[in-house]
Symmetry: C2
Subunit: 508 residues, 2 copies
């Protein structure tokens, strides 16, 4: 019964089919049921694709079948999925990928020589000169080398050994692989605690739950542009230690869902904190190309800790990057990597053994990584187009970052920090007491209730703040800045009207 | 110390660098070390990419740098990786993939209209008409529909609902996702037992270990062409129950590493056994296109259990397929799927929630699945070439299946069952007592010792039977049948000479 309740609560809004079948299920003679399934699968949540998004997909299908709704289209601002929101692929990347895929294209003419050179170099690293061969589990060697060169350039010459770079299907896979190392199966012992920001990207909370680790939240300082506060880190760690053996500190910079870009000073204080308490650092830096605010700059944790010198250089660090974000937004192609710094060599051997059972990540996803870390250079035939396309995407994102913050910030009952980087705003909504009571009466989080009302009435799909975590008694939502300008205007228009009606309906 | 010993034993042959650093490590001040890492990561093993393969890669690099060895090239018969062994991609698949990747190719001309239609249909199912958008975690809907249609055709019209099909990055990912459902984190309770064939494909043993499940081996009957024996299933299950709560039966058909194709009668007896003991069936059917022996035919578990009618139809079944094997061999592109039959609807909702945190599998890998399940039809422009290429690959594999069995079967001290299907032979080697003693003195499994000697002396890379499991006191190795004919001849030649010398050296 326990599990039934939980599922009904979470998925109640979209589970008509499920509920219809539950009578059958309750007397199920099946081997695997919700009452004996891996319990962590029941408790884990991933809000970015949770019930609201599932309902949005249903609504889309209903509209496609001609259903009448108070809106003509669903606008998905729930997920950082640039191409789905109309962003056009970077020509250079797709040309290289096409040549890697179908080699005869390179002979047929029509491709710039640097595209061909690039494709040939990738294929040269593949078994049988085909992307259809498995790569080593760590990835294609020449691509790992290019990643290392990219990191070294990015970090002003601080050395990066290709041997420390492991490619994966998106950064998510690497992040999960690293977290997995900290699992303890022994009964009785304390779980390993993983410090994550609140609000956080729910990949962390979901994976921590799935892997039976301990979630240790530290609050970001909303009043100070979502920065990290050392006192709060200390509080969080100290409190965690009664329940957990806390060993890992996760930092997301630029921030998801909060869009902040950490100052160098702030990063230094975090590094000192990690050193003081002997924590393993995980730096989620997948938005490193997405920095918009004047005066903001991306500093990698690797660079900062190396420049700080001993003893900070000796910290263990795993830092992550992805082809899903940046200016390329190639989410569906699944490319990412982790760079380890100062990982125990024995642990590294074990890590490589662990990932070997999964064989390898997609070779075409790896090829995209190669294009991202090793783009056309000035003077090469593809350079001008590549630069024009990249600059246009980043400039447009920058515009939308400002637009979104201004639009939400100007609505009554909503406050919104600047979007310094990444692809999201995380505005706070000040909900009327009656709306909160109404939500509680439905056994829903108030911001979940708000987001579902928004979706059902306007077709706008955002993710409630409760899916990311937030300070008790505050309510937020995450919206991407990805809809193209016209759609963005439409979205903000629908949102503004809904919000005014909502306030009117639930005013105290 | 425990972990050091284990690592040294397993990776001792390739870990000079590791050992050199171990002194440092033993006094390591690091957060994460081999002494506190997830213990299941230490104990899991994946022989297909284990120490022998790591050494083979090292040897390749040494040869490339001009080192002198008793051989000029490494021949990798360790892994079912067709393209790496010189198999050429199927034109239709790569053309569709190129068009999906770079849409402008479709306007530029030169592609058959059915290729374009195919690519457009896939893109129509993608967000923003781009493979760069995330798909639903379950996969692109139109591709799931094509998979369901394929399964329904394959199974003589037995219905398949696309809703029961979930796409993944290779079959491995789906297999691991399903196994994960059976994890129990509660202390004290028995682990869930998973019955797997011995010999087995080490994805199973590795994942079972990683997920803290219980491995329950049942021996295949080598004397009867590696078939499944009901009495042995009963023995294995009965013995398992003192340690485990055994709930799952895994069957690999056609067999890996054993190359058998199960008769319909044998499948029926397995289904009856699963029903009698209330087991969840996992049918690994990734070699369903690879059937060579006269009289052998692939029967899917779904079809057989549906045709057997009640109560067998009510069994819970997960069956798996992949684009890595078959005639296409697109391993590196990572496409696969699971079809669920009679899964508890609540469990299904939870399964979909669980995979949502990983976002989605590669969309280009999904596109390959589409090409495989929905190939050109007679009368369409791509059909003739597609059929010619497919038939040629399968005919050549069939030839090599016979060649390999004959070659190994004719060597003194080796016996080899027919390769009825899949891509492997699993010959038994009758090792001289002195060779066994020599291996034990090195703290190595005798077949590991043999395989390493073979590699160091001839460059031929195979996987020792101990990596797959085998009856106590017997020794085997797995070799693929994938080297192209000339290379295959070369490999068999090197092997034969080595084996004769080995027998001579260690004769009793």
């Amino acid at each position: 019964m326990f599990s039934m309740r939980l599922i009904t609560q979470t998925y109640g809004l979209v589970s008509k089919r499920l509920l219809a079948s539950s009578a059958r299920t309750m007397t199920s003679n099946r081997v695997l049921t919700a009452d004996n399934i891996n319990p962590n699968v029941i408790t884990m949540q991933y809000a970015v694709r949770g019930p609201i998004v599932i309902r949005a997909v249903e609504l889309e299908k209903e509209l496609a079948k001609g259903a009448t709704k108070p809106f003509k289209s669903v606008i998905k601002a729930n997920i950082g999925d640039a191409h789905a929101m109309g962003q056009v692929p970077i020509t250079f990347i797709r040309q290289v990928l096409a040549c890697v895929t179908e080699k005869s294209l390179m002979e047929r003419g029509g491709y710039p020589p640097d595209v061909i050179k690039h494709a040939e170099e990738i294929l040269g690293g593949c078994g049988g000169n085909s992307g259809g061969a498995y790569s080593q589990s760590t990835g294609v060697d020449i691509i790992r080398k290019h990643v290392a060169e990219y990191i070294q350039r990015r970090d002003g010459g601080i050395p990066c050994d290709p041997e420390n770079v492991i490619l994966s299907g998106g950064a998510s896979e690497s992040i999960r692989n690293v977290l997995k190392l900290f699992m303890q199966h022994s009964a009785g012992g304390k779980k390993t605690g993983i410090m994550i920001p609140i609000p956080q990207y729910p990949l962390y909370s979901a994976s921590i739950e799935e892997f039976n680790l301990g979630q240790v939240g530290y609050y970001l300082n909303e009043e100070n542009a979502w920065s990290l506060d050392e006192a709060e880190l200390e509080r969080s760690l100290a409190e965690s230690r009664k329940d957990f053996n806390t060993k890992v500190l996760v930092v997301i910079n630029p921030g998801n869902p909060t869009g902040q870009v950490l100052s160098r000073e702030n990063i230094e204080s975090i590094i000192k904190f990690a050193h003081k308490h002997k924590l393993f650092l995980m730096a989620d830096e997948v938005y490193q190309d997405n920095v918009y605010a004047e005066g903001s700059k991306f500093h990698s944790f690797k660079k900062v800790l190396c420049e700080m010198g001993k003893p900070y250089t000796d910290l263990e660090l795993a830092s992550f990057h992805s082809v899903s974000k940046g200016y390329m937004g190639e989410c569906g192609l699944r490319g990412g990597y982790v760079e380890f710094h100062n990982l125990d060599p024995e642990v590294y051997v074990l890590f490589k053994k662990m990932i070997s059972a999964k064989l390898c990540s997609t070779v075409l996803g790896q090829a995209v990584i190669d294009c991202v870390v090793n783009p056309p250079q000035p003077g090469e035939p593809s350079y001008d187009l590549w630069k024009r396309e990249r600059d246009a995407v980043l400039a447009s994102l920058k515009e939308r970052a400002v637009l979104v913050q201004k639009a939400y910030g100007s609505i009554e009952g909503i406050s919104c920090n600047p979007v310094q980087g990444a692809m999201y705003a995380f505005p706070q909504i000040h909900l009327p007491k009656r709306a909160i009571e109404k939500a509680r009466s439905l056994n829903q989080e108030p911001d979940f209730f708000y987001a579902m009302q928004l979706l059902e009435n306007t077709g706008v799909c955002i993710v409630p703040g409760s899916g990311f975590g937030q300070k008790e008694g505050t309510y937020h939502f995450r919206t991407t800045i990805l809809p193209q300008p016209a759609l963005m205007k439409e979205m903000l228009d629908r949102f503004g009207k809904f919000h005014a009606r909502f306030l009117e309906e639930y005013k105290d």
